[in-house]
Amino acid sequence: MIPIVVGVSFLIFTILNLIPGDPASNILGIGAVQADIDALNEELGYNLPFLQRYFNYMYNAVVHFDLGVSYSTKKPVFDEILGRLPVSLKVAFNAILFSLVFGIPLGVLSAVKQNSLVDRLSTGIALLLASQPGFLIGMILMLIFSLRLRWFPATGAATWKSYVMPMIALGLPYGGRQLRFTRSSMLETIRQDYVRTARAKGANEHIAIWRHAMKNALMPVITVAGTSFGILIGGAIATETLFGLPGLGSFIVAGIKQKDIPVVTGGIIIFALIFSFVILAVDLSYAFIDPRIKAKYAGGGKR
């Protein structure tokens, strides 16, 4: 994982380095004296070779947790990010939970009752939802529930109520995807020989499905849930912006508009870091759940 994180940081750093303009001009603003600009640039190390700047940046980040200072707010980027991260995490976490609760049971149900009305309806709706962008669903929700019905606040992060619509807006498309994947995984698992063996032993449908099919079917579902987290992050950014939540996503967006390079660099790297962590966690959890993988790590292995 570490080489990837390093690679990511290098990539982002490089890309953002392409933004025209030097830091001092941005910090000091229009109308600053050239001499002051040059002096500040020198101080910030702007004139150093690219690689050295990169190393300095990484060194500061890892050792001192210093991601630079925001051009616009003049505050340390790290602190700003830390302040906003909880909001983003709350939104993401709620959305994942919502999608799992909504998607998995319905997916299982659809698979067990394949081709029934329940199945066709839910797969149709799931497909519809899964293909929509979060911000669109969010706006529709906002229109109905905030502006017309006044059940939830449209923007801001005042109370827990502020988090409901973002959770649904972000969670519905994700949940649709979960439903479809759970369904196909279950359908495939139900067909497996070992489910037939269970029935031949005298297990009733309930046991055959729950004990044998489901556990096997859910394993890939969890993996896919983890790796789809990347899509979730993308949607989260738009959702935060739409609902005016002071999260990391909206922070980065604002940073881009203001050409606030330290903010954007730091923010994207942190997001990418979180994403990598999630993938790692999913991989590890797989090792716990699937005895075949556990054996590989423990050295048991196949005969």
Binding site: G7, L11, N17, I19, L127, M142, I233, G234, K259, I268
Partner: protein
């Protein structure tokens, strides 16, 4: 190439003579036949085709100027005979804006999907065939690319390069190239060891020829499915970027931008959201359904 079984005189009419036909045309027809059966997929296909046709004919329906002409007297006008979708906050005709917005969104979607298909496939073929250090380096690079959520990456690129259609296209494509590279690479690796490749090489077939004749048929199924999925996701990515204000430059219309513009006036003038919203909704859904149908048609075994 056909295979016949034993020629003994005891052979009779009751067993099927199996003729294995590798001609591409019959395969394509077969896929098309299967696709036709999927009513939902055909619905999706017709909707998309209809949208493309309308988008192409846009200048014949309304002039572009109508999309950007402001008229404050018509501010937030509701739908009427003169203005089918009503007008936006600057009095611009929403229907025309949606119309030209489709042009932008669909162009971005298809153009980038096609570009990533071509670039990704070539890179994948190259990497798979050459192998070695190049392979390792490229795959590592792809891993790094994949570790960044695509929207974030696109945002970074836009931040660096500025907004505008071309830049968005570049930004979005970069995030999707790894997918194609992997598909083609694994198709190449899948058959590279096969003996008939060695035979072809020994027979003097040039590399390109081998790649086209042997690798391509293997990869074409997943490539088509991936491309369809990409068109859909790229339209959405572009819309998301525009929604965030990082995409195309105003006053150019684009679906995401139109939805973003609707936010300010959402309560009193929901029509600003509804019309572009329906377009996004229908287009995405149709593409998804078509993609699913294609996937099932290309390999019926995958279907439940």
């Amino acid at each position: 190439m056909s295979t016949k079984y034993d020629d003994s005189p005891l052979m009779n009419l009751t067993e099927k003579k199996v003729e294995v036909n590798f001609k591409k045309e019959s395969q394509i027809k077969e896929v098309w036949r299967r696709l036709k059966k999927d009513k939902l997929a055909m619905f999706g296909l017709s909707v998309i085709v209809l949208m493309i046709v309308i988008a192409l004919c846009a200048p014949l329906i309304r002039p572009y100027s109508a999309a950007i002409k402001m008229n404050m007297r018509l501010k937030l006008a509701l739908p009427s005979a003169a203005h089918w979708f009503g007008c936006d906050g600057y009095g611009r005709d929403l229907f025309t804006r949606c119309l030209y917005g489709s042009r932008v969104s669909l162009t971005i979607g298809f153009a980038t999907a096609f570009a990533t298909l071509v670039i990704g496939s070539m890179l994948g073929a190259l990497v798979g065939y050459v192998g070695g250090v190049l392979d390792d380096v490229v795959m590592r690079a792809l891993d790094i690319f994949s570790a960044i959520p695509s929207t974030l990456f696109a945002m970074a690129v836009v931040a660096a390069m500025g907004s505008g259609i071309f830049n968005i296209c570049v930004a979005i494509s970069l995030t999707n190239i790894p997918g194609f590279v992997r598909i083609v690479r694994s198709a190449v690796l899948g058959i590279a060891d096969q003996e008939y490749i060695e035979a072809a090489r020994a027979g003097g077939s040039p590399t390109l020829h081998i790649l086209l004749r042997h690798v391509l048929p293997n990869a074409i199924g997943p490539l088509i499915v991936q491309t369809t999925a990409n068109v859909s996701s790229m339209i959405l990515s572009a819309a998301t970027l525009s929604f965030l204000g990082l995409g195309i430059d105003p006053p150019q219309p684009e679906w995401g931008a139109l939805v973003s513009e609707a936010q300010e006036f959402l309560r009193r003038s929901p029509h600003l959201l509804i019309f572009p919203g329906i377009l996004i909704c229908v287009a995405s859904f149709s593409m998804s359904v078509l993609g699913d149908g294609l996937r099932d048609a290309l390999d019926p075994r995958l279907k439940s």
